[in-house]
């Protein structure tokens, strides 16, 4: 501020006055921005997208040394555990080969049955692989920034996955970068189905590592270890995407351990199943009839 005053040629008393006023004024502006941002979620969206787009190339470059260091640590760890890993992988490979035979048999049977039923094949999904260049760094938001945007075909609402399972969904898109809201975020709601009891539920994040299952029927017989996959309700995600396994059934709501360890994600697959166009833009809170995303509306965009 002092430099700005020098540049515009203010006299010392006026400069002192400007400096005295600037702090309370900026505190007021910040507080106003918080209130406005809460009342109208799309107000700062274009500003956020342009700041993200501007910073994305720099963040991409700066995140590479950190990633390289992580690889080095991983490599050292792998080197130490190479013998045990080899024994484990040989045993796993043997088991997977028998599963491969079973899968091939099922695939051909499935193809024959589809032909018998004259089933219209689902459109093939398209993938965009994107590098993670930033996270949310704090206790209150769970999101990742990826270095792919409109230019690469990323659209709001697309599923973000790794080979292991669902990570989240694209919540904001700039021209070069996009933000992925993780399934663990406080505002994430994903309609899921618990395999086994075939029980529908809503997977709700609470910023902890393990999101919880809501709106379950009482006495549904959910067990630890049951698989949780997307149900496809709400039309944002297709059914059957792997999410995680039930990790605890005590307390208020069962908790799910996601298949993906969110902090170790380096590359994401943004998957277009041709459903993303159905995701509406965020609606200002004031004009909503209900306060939060609820079970009937399925996966709604949160505040971000």
């Amino acid at each position: 501020m002092a430099r700005a005053c020098e540049v515009i040629g203010l006299s010392p008393p006026r400069r002192a006055a400007v400096q005295r006023v600037s702090l309370p004024l900026l505190v007021f502006v910040s507080a106003t921005m918080i209130v406005l941002g809460k009342a109208d979620q799309i107000l700062f969206e274009s500003l956020r997208a342009s700041v993200t787009d501007t910073a994305a190339p720099a963040l991409d470059v700066l995140s590479r040394p950190v990633a390289a260091l992580g690889h080095l640590v991983d490599r050292a760890r792998d080197f130490v555990a190479v013998y045990q890993d080899n024994a484990r992988l040989a045993e796993e490979n043997e088991r997977l080969l028998s599963w491969q035979q079973a899968a091939l048999g099922l695939a051909s049977e499935n193809a024959r049955l589809r032909e018998l039923l004259k089933l219209t094949p689902e459109p093939p999904a398209t993938f965009i692989t994107a590098r993670v260049i930033a996270n949310s760094g704090g206790a209150y938001v769970r999101s990742l920034m990826v270095y792919a945007g409109h230019e690469n075909g990323v659209v709001r609402g697309q599923a973000a996955m790794t080979g292991e399972g669902l990570v989240g969904r694209v919540s904001e898109v700039g021209s070069r970068a996009a933000r992925v809201l993780l399934v663990t975020d406080l505002n994430s709601r994903v309609p899921v189905i618990v395999e086994g009891p075939q029980q529908r539920a809503l997977l709700a994040g609470d910023n902890s590592e393990r999101p919880n299952l809501r709106y379950l029927d009482a006495g549904t017989g959910i067990k630890i270890g049951d698989r949780v996959v997307t149900s496809g309700q709400g039309g944002v995600f297709p059914p059957g995407l792997p999410v995680g396994i039930v990790a605890s059934v005590d307390g208020e709501a069962p908790r799910v351990e996601p298949y993906v360890e969110m902090s170790r994600v380096e590359y994401l697959r943004i998957v277009d199943y041709g459903l993303a166009n159905g995701l509406p833009n965020p609606v200002p809170v004031a004009s909503r009839s209900g306060r939060r995303a609820d079970a009937s509306t399925g996966d709604q965009p949160g505040r971000r």
Binding site: L26, S30, A58, G137
Partner: protein, 176 residues
């Protein structure tokens, strides 16, 4: 790790524009470090408040080179890049400056433990403020443990950050 007091109560005049920009540049760098993805389980939630460390250091030693407008812009950038509600970090940094600047003279010529104790109090207040604000914004009682761990981590790492910032300051601006 006693940090020599640099830049006493009457700030030294700097003609080198690069040195003048150093506080803003290091604070921006702290913001970028705060959002770096690190391959450590659970790190994202407990990332230390690096930006707060830089703001505390420069507000004590060279408040003239880190004016409120720059804090506002850095805070807004961090909020926008991190996906947080815009204004939250900006407000926290501005209030931190207001608090530190009132008693900066007590820290300037003191040994490091005094400076660290001041930062401990500031971090406690800042984390409590952020937690309260997010509870109000999200309309739920956010788990307080993450906030406590983050505060402890931030306070523990501060000596390293303070040492590095002090070295940078001495190299670029000279002592006194």
């Amino acid at each position: 790790m006693a940090l020599e007091p640099v830049g006493a109560t009457a700030p030294q005049r700097l003609d080198n524009p690069a040195a003048r920009l150093l506080p803003i540049a290091t604070t921006l760098l702290a913001t970028v470090i705060s959002i770096q993805p690190a391959n450590i389980p659970g790190y994202a939630a407990l990332t230390p408040a690096f930006t707060l460390m830089a703001v505390y250091h420069w507000t004590i030693y060279r408040p003239d080179l880190l004016p409120p407008l720059s804090l506002f812009l850095v805070g807004i950038s961090q909020d926008l890049l991190a996906g947080a509600p815009p204004g939250v970090t900006a407000l926290m940094l501005l209030l931190a400056r207001a608090a530190v600047i009132r008693c900066r003279r007590r820290f300037v010529n003191q040994p490091f433990p005094f400076v660290w104790a001041g930062f401990t109090m500031l971090t406690g207040g800042a984390m409590l403020f952020l937690w309260t604000l997010h509870c109000l914004l999200d309309g739920v009682l956010v788990d307080f443990r993450g906030t406590v761990f983050r505060a402890v981590l931030t306070i523990s790492i501060f000596p390293i950050a303070s040492y590095l910032l002090g070295r940078i300051q001495r190299t670029a601006m000279g002592a006194g």
